[in-house]
Symmetry: C2
DNA sequence: ATCCTCAGGATTTTCGAAAATCATTGACTC
DNA sequence: GAGTCAATGATTTTCGAAAATCCTGAGGAT
């Protein structure tokens, strides 16, 4: 038996899925952009079949949309959807955090502390932050939020939260004001963690809600400015 | 401009998606069954490409699962997943119902009453209930639950609820005790509707939770008997 | 007897081209 | 000039077969 975690007998379709999703998440494919097969085939260096499968998955998850016989395109962003996502995150991640606090053991506490440590150690960039660092922060930010709710004990709730987070991430990425909010977010993250580790469910959820509200407000201001 | 709702320039992939999903929902494809392409191509009378796209969508929604290079199969059922689904339904549909009661107008009330009327008018069958009637009841049952939460104002929450309902439906279908619970369910449905129309959010949500708990209990008893 | 190797067959996965559909252009009528 | 219609080009959608991978079981070595 192999000790290696993954012999990785992957498929091209999986590669295409991750590749295209990454392009959408990082904003290189922008909302509303049409996704032509010729282009995607060139990008992924494969035939049409695996690309099609990847787009089918992405569409089922809401990252792309499909008009029959008119092809796929990157899902649009809208102020109303941002508000909807925020409301759903408060509901689902709030409940997941409550459960996690109730059920989490020392292992969970350690994972939360570790994820938070990694998050605050990402070098703080400026406007001209290299995208590598920016991607790094985003990955650790996602990991921190995942660690918080990891002990909730509900795979379905975790899946829902994961999807919501990914969608919220798209909104965060398009916002130039992202960088300014990092410093504020740091204090908010710390507060959530402290309340969670103190096993104060109500206070932790309140802090989480406040965090989402503030994030949403920042993005809403940006969207209003853009007229989207 | 055409008045017809849909000229229906559909694709084979969409047909395959609905066809296969129906086979899974109605239980003709059973949990754990392997889904071979040769078989599905024969069933849908089409080539492998659209079938593959359909399975990709179904997998993203959790109805099927995929092992790389080992093919697709119908997702397994388990007691723990049933409990997880129930907990998530209480959370999500409960909130959706609360919002619906808060925001719903007369149009919403009318739709709820209409859906309930259709539901109770399905002829009550017995063990040997023809599958057509059974499918009819299931469709109207889904429509009633959808009508209750339709006015919640959150497309994302509605989507989540829809998925959860579809998964719960799979559990209900495999249960032989389904028929016995219809009569009980009728009283529960009426209670939910009455509380909702009376705009008593707390009572309506409580009734909804009780409804789900009772459904889950019935199914759990069945599952325990089967040793699944 | 147990384990390993390796064909043979079954199945999934991918390809490249054909068929179907949509968008655009330009001619033609009213 | 506005509107209709057909032909053309671009793009999606589907097909049928080739390539890659997995499963099974027989044969041989330890």
């Amino acid at each position: 038996m192999s000790i290696l975690p993954k012999p990785a007998a992957r498929t091209l379709a999986s590669d295409a899925y991750e590749r295209i999703r990454a392009e959408i998440q990082t904003g290189r494919f922008r909302p509303g952009d049409r996704l032509r097969f010729a282009e995607l085939q060139a990008l992924c260096a494969m035939s049409v079949t695996p690309v099609r499968e990847a787009l089918a998955r992405l569409t089922a998850e809401g990252f792309t949309s499909l008009d029959d016989h008119r092809g796929y395109s990157v899902a649009q962003l809208s102020l109303s959807e941002l508000r909807d996502i925020t409301a759903n995150r408060k509901l689902c991640e709030g409940e997941a955090l409550r459960l996690s606090i109730e059920r989490g053991d020392a292992q969970w506490e350690a994972a939360v502390i570790a994820a938070h440590h990694l998050l605050v150690r990402v070098p703080q960039g400026r406007e001209d932050m290299p995208s590598a660092i920016r991607d790094d922060w985003d990955a650790r930010h996602a990991a921190f939020h995942r660690a918080l709710i990891a002990a909730c004990g509900s795979p379905i709730l975790l899946d829902t939260c994961g999807r919501l987070f990914a969608h919220a991430d798209r909104y965060r990425r398009v916002s130039v004001s992202l960088l300014m909010s990092h410093r504020d977010a740091e204090a908010e993250h710390r507060l959530i963690m402290e309340k969670a580790l103190a096993r104060d469910g109500a206070a932790a959820v309140a802090a989480l809600h406040a965090h989402y509200e503030k994030t949403a407000e920042t993005l809403e201001a940006f969207f209003d400015g853009q007229g989207n």
